[in-house]
């Protein structure tokens, strides 16, 4: 067990050297690192947000609302399909089709049972248009007497929810990091969540203000014939809505036509700028060709009337149309602060979220606290390391030195592995390394105590050391597997910082078995076989 062939020694040395090479970039300043030749590894350990400062936001996507929107849209289309058109006669229904969100169904009852088949045919047509991207039809249609039930399949439901999540991430990215040059990470988590991690001193409150708004923009015709008093009493004609002014526009509300003239998805660009003929700031925007045509038609036909620009169910501006606006260019004027104007421009540019986002969790660490933590963690690591090193040498003498060299190699290997895999080091992660330093020597303690026993039992040095290593293996294996299992569970179930701890702990377990069992054995074997000492003290 103490004999190592040349290639074995070379292999072990290569592993440690590789660890050192991968760990090295962490010690070199960033600017110098960029100037090194390309074949050298440059990956460094990522510092977690708790160490570098920054914000972690967990957002929930309301996928139920997305599904509800889909279903109510489908219900409207089904209703429309029952009307007479192009030679088709009307299919009379007992009542409006009803939506059950929980079950994902739309049910309708025809008045004349013999029309049920015709109705079902029309429903099938409607549910199958424009769904080429799905492998199976998203809805199943079943007929039972006069009752037709349209059911959203579970696959389609998942698909729509997944699309909503993807779309939301895209929108959030366009809002938070429009130029794509920030170090912000935006990732899906599970089926309906988004994690935003923004390092540095990004203002978390500003971040939330910009992602928590749906950004639904629409242009509506104002209905001046309904009095506000009637509207507030709930006396609204069909197709009209009462919409309040945004806080910046002061109190009050207007009655609008529900159907928008132009919608936000027809806006191509938007930017904030100084108000060209007044105080404050305005938002300049331009429509795409479809929006421009609609806007031009509308403004030509309604000169002199008020119209309303609505963002997330609030009127942000209600100008009077002075002249037709044919060029597809427009501006939104209001009492905007520069920040609010910029924010609205970003919202319009990025498009609307498919569903509102809810902030479920926020964790922000200021850069100072992060720096304090790094300092404290590093100090603790160095002092803990020195204490263990001294303790080991004091207890085991020469063999303690071997264990200490293995320990040093272990820390280098952990750093190398974390850099290689681009893992994130958190404050609990540093604690994991410190703890590994304390626990890594356990394997050597097991071996050395065993060697002591064998020496006491009267074995010669070489024989005692060899037996010590062999007999200690089973305990070392069991002990490390149990710790590794614990780390594995932490990684699977843990959140954020706990995961960081699990990663370093698990890495440390693997590297420590190697350094403590192989590396020290090589040192001890080299010494014993070369010098053949008559006695050893351990």
């Amino acid at each position: 067990m103490l004999q190592f062939s040349k290639w074995q020694v070379a292999l072990v040395a290569a592993v440690v050297a590789l660890g050192a090479i991968f760990a090295a970039p962490n010690l070199i300043p960033k600017e110098q690192l960029d100037r090194l030749p390309g074949f050298l590894p440059k990956g460094t350990i990522n510092l977690g947000l708790d160490l570098r400062g920054g914000s972690y936001l967990l957002l929930g996507v309301d996928t139920d609302k997305v599904i509800a929107d889909r279903l109510s849209g489908m219900r409207q289309e089904i209703q429309r399909a029952m009307r007479p058109s192009g030679g088709r006669e009307r299919v009379a229904l007992v009542s409006l089709p009803s939506v059950d969100l929980e079950m994902g169904t739309i049910s309708l009852r025809v008045r004349e049972p013999d029309q049920a088949d015709e109705a079902a045919r029309r429903v099938r047509d409607v549910t199958r248009t424009g769904v080429a991207f799905l492998t199976a039809p998203p809805y199943t249609v079943s007929v039972q007497g006069d009752l037709i039930e349209v059911r959203l399949t579970p696959e389609a439901r998942r698909q729509y929810a997944a699309e909503a999540l993807q779309d939301s991430i895209e929108v959030v990215r366009r809002r938070v990091d429009p130029a794509g040059n920030k170090e912000v990470s935006i990732q899906p988590q599970g089926a309906d969540r988004i994690v935003i991690q923004a390092p540095g001193d990004n203002d978390p409150e500003e971040l939330k203000r910009i992602v928590n708004r749906t950004g639904q923009l629409s242009f509506h015709r104002v209905d001046p014939t309904v009095s506000l008093a009637d509207a507030e009493a709930g006396l609204l004609p069909p197709g009209r809505i009462l919409v309040p002014f945004a806080a910046s526009e002061g109190p009050g509300a207007l009655v609008l036509y529900e159907e928008p003239e132009v919608t936000g998805d027809m806006v191509e660009t938007a930017s904030a700028g100084l108000n060209t003929d007044g105080a404050g700031f305005q938002i300049n925007f331009s429509f795409d060709s479809r929006g421009a045509r609609r806007f031009a038609d509308y403004t030509r036909e309604h000169v002199g009337e008020l119209f309303a620009i609505v963002l997330d169910n609030e009127i942000i501006s209600a100008p009077r149309i002075q002249t037709p606006i044919p060029g597809g260019q427009g501006r939104i004027t209001g009492n905007f602060s520069p920040d609010e104007a910029a924010r609205i421009a970003t919202l319009i540019r990025s498009g609307a979220l498919p569903a509102p986002l809810t902030t479920l969790e926020q964790r922000t660490v200021g850069p100072d606290l992060g720096a304090d933590s790094v300092r404290a963690g590093t100090t603790a690591l160095v002092i803990g390391f020195l204490a263990v090193i001294i303790y080991m040498v004091a207890t085991y003498g020469r063999f303690g030195v071997y264990a200490d060299m293995a320990l040093l190699a272990n820390v280098v290997l952990i750093a190398g592995a974390l850099s290689l895999f681009g893992s994130t080091l958190t404050l609990p992660g540093i604690a994991g390394i410190v703890l590994t330093v304390g626990m890594a020597v356990d394997a050597n303690v097991l071996i050395f105590e065993r060697i002591r026993e064998e020496l006491v039992a009267g074995k010669g040095p070489v024989n005692a050391v060899e037996t010590g290593y062999r007999k200690a293996w089973s305990a070392i294996l069991d002990a490390n597997v149990t710790t590794f299992l614990a780390a594995l569970i932490m990684f699977q179930l843990g959140a954020g910082p706990v995961r960081g701890f699990a990663v370093t702990l698990a890495t440390g377990v693997v590297t420590s078995v190697f350094t403590a069992f192989v590396l020290t054995r090589m040192f001890a074997g080299g010494y014993l076989l070369a010098r053949r000492p008559a006695t050893i003290t351990i």
Binding site: T359, G384, L435, V481, L485
Partner: protein, 321 residues
């Protein structure tokens, strides 16, 4: 001459004290269960939900005024305390707001936490000026806090379960049972300590408990490994004597490893900063309890269940690589 904390060939009759030790452990476990049941755990923001804000200023902060200002916001139970042992001339205050409850659905409830956070920040800015720095802001809504509790509990139970299976696989069922009794013992006493001391119980404490589970297992396994070896070696030795021999054989290793681990942890506790203090404290407690339990609970437990004395060739082969 190398340092020897534990002399060679100790012959401490540990199993003779097993009744005393088991009674002591049982009393501790019972007390811990009572403490957890009656006092409950002092959940941190991770599990309780709500808002935690740490603010620092380079000028003295009047804690009383901060407390009255934040209390006047009408956010329910509010805790305001100075941040201890702060470096330099800065002063810091920790504000903890309980989980908010809002009318309406889940979304309103989540939004209410965010609003509370904004209100506290605005109030602190108003009181202390714009020059203050928010060192730490944590807002946890009811959905996430519920999930974190659940996942934490599952993680601890899963860890214990996996240990059980592993030991069963490597040893006999009696060992597996003994190891699990020792593990559960350690976890319950650690929870009891947190209930009694009112130290904050947060996500990192779950990590600490999982590590304690791993460590305590590690310690127990080393003793058991020796028990198994001695069972093969001394076929006729009475079990209590054999257990004593095994514990004494491994005693100096047990103390040595606990020693190095505690050295590293003490360094973390003293120098690692306040963020890690609760975590490190739990770990130190766990190492001490885990070491105690592998000597006084796990090994003597085998006298209650008995062990199989005939070790087949298969078992012997499995134990050596």
């Amino acid at each position: 001459m190398p340092l020897k904390i534990i002399p060679d060939n100790t012959k401490i009759p540990f199993t003779k004290w097993r009744r005393l030790a088991l009674a002591f452990s049982a009393a501790l476990v019972a007390a811990s269960i009572v403490a957890v049941m009656t006092l409950g755990l002092n959940f941190g923001v991770d599990f309780r939900g709500g808002v935690t804000i740490e603010v620092v200023d380079d000028q003295p902060i009047d804690i009383g005024r901060v407390r009255s200002t934040v209390s006047d916001l009408g956010l329910g139970n509010v805790k305001v305390q100075a941040i201890q042992d702060f470096a330099g001339s800065e002063e810091g205050v920790l504000v903890v707001v309980e989980q908010q409850r809002a009318e309406g659905g889940a979304e309103e409830n989540e939004a209410a936490q965010q609003r509370a956070s904004e209100e506290v920040q605005a109030a602190l800015r108003g009181l202390l000026g714009e020059g203050i720095e928010f060192r730490k802001i944590e807002v946890v809504g009811p959905t996430v806090s519920g999930e974190l509790i659940q996942r934490g509990a599952i993680a601890v139970m899963l860890a214990i379960g996996m240990m059980l299976i592993y030991i069963w696989f490597r040893f006999e069922w009696q060992f597996s049972l003994g190891a699990i009794v020792a593990l559960v013992h350690d976890v319950i006493i650690t929870l009891g300590m947190f209930a009694a001391t009112r130290l904050e119980f947060n996500l990192s404490i779950i990590a600490a408990i999982l590590t304690i589970v791993g460590y305590s297992m590690n310690d127990t396994v080393v003793v058991y490994d020796r028990v198994r070896e001695n069972l093969r070696k001394y076929k006729k030795k009475p079990l209590p004597e054999l257990l004593d021999l095994s514990i004494n054989d491994t005693l100096s290793r047990t103390i040595m490893t606990s020693g190095t681990t505690l050295l590293a942890l003490l360094s973390l506790y003293v120098l690692g900063g306040e963020v890690l203090r609760g975590f490190t404290f739990a770990m130190i407690w766990g190492i001490v309890i885990g070491t105690y339990s592998s000597i006084f609970v796990a090994a003597p437990f085998l006298t209650l269940t008995g062990v199989r004395r005939e070790w087949g060739k298969a078992a012997a082969a499995a134990a050596t690589p």
